[in-house]
Symmetry: C2
């Protein structure tokens, strides 16, 4: 891993058809697109939520696996071989509980951090456990915040990432087609209000067992505010760097952390949030409440930074 802080780098978002009960096939198609991303120079690649297994709620405990476990190891091997950082969603079994979890592997294959989805919808709540806690991982690619699909519909969940100065928010997702429009509007707002890049890696295709269609619409988004090159004035910039409809596809874009940091330094939003009693309350409420989600001491990435 390069030790220098990378100010500009390319990212890839893999929109994957996530087929139920077809783990080997999902991994093979994912691998092909991750290799394509590495070929195109991406240093960070994001795959959808539960990309290997899909969600099969009644069988959740059976198909879930530990983190780290087989899927994490598979991702680690690919990250190490290709020299890219890799994030993806894994259906995680931890004792009696099952979580939808995002893992981040660095470009040596080390597990840099993980986060469990906070919000579960009513039917899911019989099978999955939500975990409150903002997970921001300091990396040479910037401060990376982890969220998962349904979380993006609840703005308070991502405010813990804002409080912890996440610069690049990764959102592996397995959301359904009827919610495509509101989710798109919310994702644009998440980038704007949290002054961050948002990498939304969405499942596409059909869950034929459940009769459900995934939303697709993966996107790489940024704040619509920038700072002029020779001034401190705000100016508009195009917030959509790349987006997909429903095809299985790799999206790529170039991030510029230097530009993002200049904008954040000029914008009053984080300071105003921190000064407000409500901002402080939200920050406190989004501190990880479950110590088992923190990386263990043997994982040398250290715990999520919670300054």
């Amino acid at each position: 891993m390069p030790t220098a802080d990378r100010r500009r780098y390319r990212v890839g978002v893999v929109q994957l058809s996530v087929a139920t009960n077809r783990r080997a096939e999902n991994l093979a198609r994912a691998e092909k697109l991750v290799r394509a991303a590495a070929d195109e120079g991406c240093e960070l690649v994001v795959l959808p939520e539960v990309f290997a297994t899909a969600l099969n709620l009644p069988k959740s405990h059976e198909i879930a696996e530990p983190v780290p476990g087989p899927t994490t190891e598979w991702l680690a091997g690919l990250a190490r071989e290709l020299g890219v950082s890799l994030a993806a969603g894994v259906l995680e079994r931890a004792g009696e509980h099952v979580h939808s979890t995002a893992v981040l592997l660095d470009d040596t294959g080390r597990l840099a951090g993980s986060a469990r989805r906070t919000m579960v919808y009513d039917l899911e709540a019989h099978f999955l456990t939500g975990v409150t806690g903002a997970r921001v991982i300091p990396t040479p690619l910037g401060r990376i915040g982890l969220a998962l699909g349904y979380d993006v519909q609840f703005p308070e969940v991502l405010r813990g990432l804002f409080a912890n100065e996440a610069e690049v928010i990764l959102a592996p997702s397995v959301l359904l087609r009827p919610f495509a429009e509101p989710v798109r509007q919310m994702l644009l707002a998440r980038a704007a209000e949290n002054c961050a890049y948002v990498l939304f890696a969405s499942a596409t295709g059909e869950n034929t067992l459940a009769g459900l269609t995934y939303m697709g619409r993966s996107a790489i988004l940024r704040s619509p505010l920038a700072i002029g090159a020779y001034s401190r004035d705000f100016r508009k910039q195009q917030p959509v760097l790349a987006e997909a409809d429903r095809e299985e596809v790799l999206l790529t874009a170039d991030l510029d952390l230097h530009e993002l940091r200049r904008m954040r330094a000029a914008a009053p939003f984080l300071a105003d949030f921190r000064r407000s009693s409500l901002g402080r309350a939200v920050t406190a409420a989004t501190r990880p409440d479950d110590p088992t989600t923190a990386p263990t001491p043997s994982q040398d990435g250290g715990p999520a930074d919670e300054r």
Copy 2:
């Protein structure tokens, strides 16, 4: 006031050029557009934040007034004469403190409720006091939530309105032009994530004293999700009912609370929010923390509903 619950009704949003130190002129132009709204059948009309006085921060304490006070009385007289509900922003003096406050007058001129802006930006914080607390007022026009301009950039502020089942969120605003794009994205998300109509009544024109330009871009927005007339399935709907650029103008649109309530009954978002520990924490943190913002017992609207 009609006692029957109004399921469908027309609303007006007045985008007003808010001139500094020109109170009489601001009131005259506001009155003309409110009368036009009544002529067009609007039953609820919203004016911008501090529409009578503008913000003149160093002179805030001097130009502010009690609520109720002269501007509230002026609004009440107009509401009573025209038989419309009227909301607007008033620069409020309360002892040593100055607040940017939204007031809601019913169609008899009664003060149905008020709310003070939660978020103040760094420079403002020397002159204005932010107040935490979600204000939702049950009315025959639905459950009306009050917010103010800068609050819409902080999603957590409006989640207290969501928790209290606000159906129509009124946002009188005096935001600045450089923030027009992010604010527009956030407003669309506020309607989507809070499953509510959003009436954004924005100042336009120049603050020549301060060298600032207001953003305009007033809008009447709704959730992008609806329910099919003969099914329980979600379908897309156009979220922008009306919008302005920078002209002084009246926007109108027809709201349909019946449709909104059907969608909310089918959507799991509020139940999922309430079940989550983070949702409960945000709800607790947005309870009014200042009893002086609650309507007094002599105002028969009763306190904001906080169920």
